[in-house]
């Protein structure tokens, strides 16, 4: 049996008690700081939210009381700005926020960029992009000389794309990390028109993820300027590129010339034939009917279904389908036409 003296036990208890008290005091202090921080932030929000509204939207004169004094007030301003940016579009508001941030928040975020904690650095990078703090571009570049995470580099790319598109293209060419298509899309959607167009010009030099992201971003932007670029990609050797380009053209929804699409009616890939069936929705039925009739007799159910749907969407579509039923010997196609007619008449 271990023999412990009473003195020793009391000493251990006393030490543990002191440690516990110290720990309790630390927790108490931290809690108090947090409460003070929150209180100070909430007071700023309560007192100055209306002043911010007046300054940003009603052209009131800027008041010096809005200048932050300490971290809690910076956080309050962050909350106001992010709420506005998330909900309101207004060029004048953005310009005022940018100027204010460059003048009064710059130092706070510059310090945050050098912080040891990853979350603080990330928050600063997010704010630099959101508030368009272009004066911190050099500080951001300096961050690259330190050890940074993949997420931080992604935010840096976002910042470069906003403030220095040339540098963005350089950096993305030699990626320090591979990003997913959706991440690239998030970057490309912010790009100015001219910079984004450059991705089409040097299309083959990009990685597959970037190529896919470029096509999908063009589709999401629904800008007619990209029609020509996407049509050029229809001759690409990669089938996935072709399918995505067709999908992009369908999303934009303007077809000026049917000829580039005709060869795809006989494509060996059913996905391509399906997309063409969808795209023909934007072409008058008098031009597209012969090809849609061909697709209606396709071996693939999805293609047949889409072709019938596209025909039925036209004003004379139901008549065309009824006519087709009367002379066609393709049972599958006739069945699809009948189903589509029933569905269409049922929704009227």
């Amino acid at each position: 049996m271990i023999d412990l003296s009473l003195d020793f036990l009391l000493s251990v208890i006393a030490i543990l008690f002191i440690v516990l008290c110290g720990f309790m005091m630390y927790i108490f202090y931290q809690r108090q700081s947090e409460v003070r921080f929150k209180k100070s932030r909430d007071i700023y929000l309560k007192d100055y939210s209306q002043l911010w509204y007046e300054y940003l939207f009603n052209n009131e004169i800027f008041s010096v009381v809005l200048i932050p004094r300490g971290k809690p007030q910076v956080q309050a301003i962050e909350m106001i700005f992010s709420s506005y940016l998330k909900n309101i579009t207004n060029d004048d508001m953005r310009w005022k926020m940018k100027n204010f941030s460059n003048q009064y928040l710059k130092t706070f975020y510059e310090n945050d960029l050098m912080n040891k904690r990853w979350s603080i650095r990330m928050n600063a990078l997010y704010r630099i992009a959101d508030l368009q703090l272009d004066e911190l571009l050099d500080a951001c570049k300096k961050l690259e000389t330190t050890k940074y995470s993949k997420e931080e580099f992604f935010q840096l790319l976002k910042i470069y794309s906003l403030f220095q598109p040339e540098l963005f293209i350089q950096k993305i060419k030699v990626p320090n990390a591979n990003y997913s298509e959706s991440e690239y899309r998030r970057l490309f959607v912010l790009l100015e028109e001219d910079t984004f167009m450059r991705f089409f010009d040097e299309f083959t030099s990009w990685s597959m993820s970037i190529q896919f992201a470029v096509i999908d971003t063009a589709a999401a932007k629904k800008n007619m300027k990209y029609i020509e670029k996407l049509e050029q990609l229809l001759t690409n050797e990669n089938d996935e590129i072709k399918i995505r380009a067709l999908k992009g053209l369908f999303e934009i929804g303007v077809i000026e010339n049917i000829n580039p699409y005709i060869p795809f009616v006989t494509s060996h890939l059913w996905e391509v034939r399906l997309m063409v069936g969808k795209i023909f929705k934007y072409v008058p039925l008098s031009y597209s009917y012969p090809y849609l009739e061909q697709l209606l007799q396709d071996e693939n159910w999805w293609v047949r279904s889409q072709a019938a749907k596209t025909i039925a969407e036209d004003r004379d579509g139901l008549e065309k389908l009824k006519e087709f039923i009367s002379y066609s010997t393709d049972h599958y196609a006739v069945e699809m036409a009948q189903e589509t007619i029933m569905r269409k008449q049922g929704t009227r």
């Binding site: 929000l45 939210s49 209306q50 509204y53 939207f57 909350m79 106001i80 709420s83 506005y84 940016l85 998330k86 909900n87 309101i88 579009t89 207004n90």
Partner: protein, 294 residues
Amino acid sequence: MNEVIFAKDIMLEQDVKKYFEIMLESAIRSHMTITTIFLKCVHSTSSEVNHSNVNTQITDFLTENIRKTDLLFQLADGEHWGIIFLQSSDVEANAFLKRIFHLLKKDSTLESRVALKASITEIRNNQINFEILVEKNKALLADNNQQQWWIEQIEDYRLQSIELVKVSIIEQNAIFRKVLETTLNSMDIANFTFDVTAYEDGYSFLQSNTYQSGHLHLIIMNDILPRNNGLEILHSLRTMPNEKRFLIYMMSERNSEIAALNAYEGGVDEFIVKPFNLRLLEAKIKRTFARYWL
């Protein structure tokens, strides 16, 4: 003594009087404008003119030229005709008068000395009754020195009463909620006044019972909300009796056609994708209320 002659098949003053107040109240409740025209012959006292013929001819002419929704009647003195235009403003009334005056001037079948003058009253409030309407218009057309084809206008009843509109903002973000509240409170819309209340979630709005009042109710809400989301509120409101009094604007972060389609099919009046311009929201609201009165 001149005998008062009325054309056959025309409503008379005493008949119209019974219906006028019902028409007026119903029109105001539906935010519609009523406009009346009173017409009088300029040379009807001339001995060379056959009063009986003139009366019949003018009545027939007016009957042929009014719309099915307009009500033609003759006053008890036999010298005035009245027309009530439902859902029409003075613009339509002026256009009507110009058209019939033009036709009358070139109509060779009417007695050559016949010419008319008219008065227009645009009505958008219920501070008038039929007696006053008749009295004022008769007084306006009483001056024998008025020229042929003269048109007078009574403007005393064209201003509608100020109507209270309940406004509910349902938005989770406190800062943006306050922005919307300030914006809506500072909006100046002619003839309407806003009573703005803000809620942070759907449940507190549904518990408030403000939507059960009979007022016109503008609701600006997010599609995604804690405790009863926007689509649930939309469904609750649109299944209520007299649901047409709700003007529902739905805000959403989802910039997708499907989301907008679902919202419109569910019964929203406007679907607004965030972020949006506050001035655009104001303009949309102003347009919505401008449509309330012709």
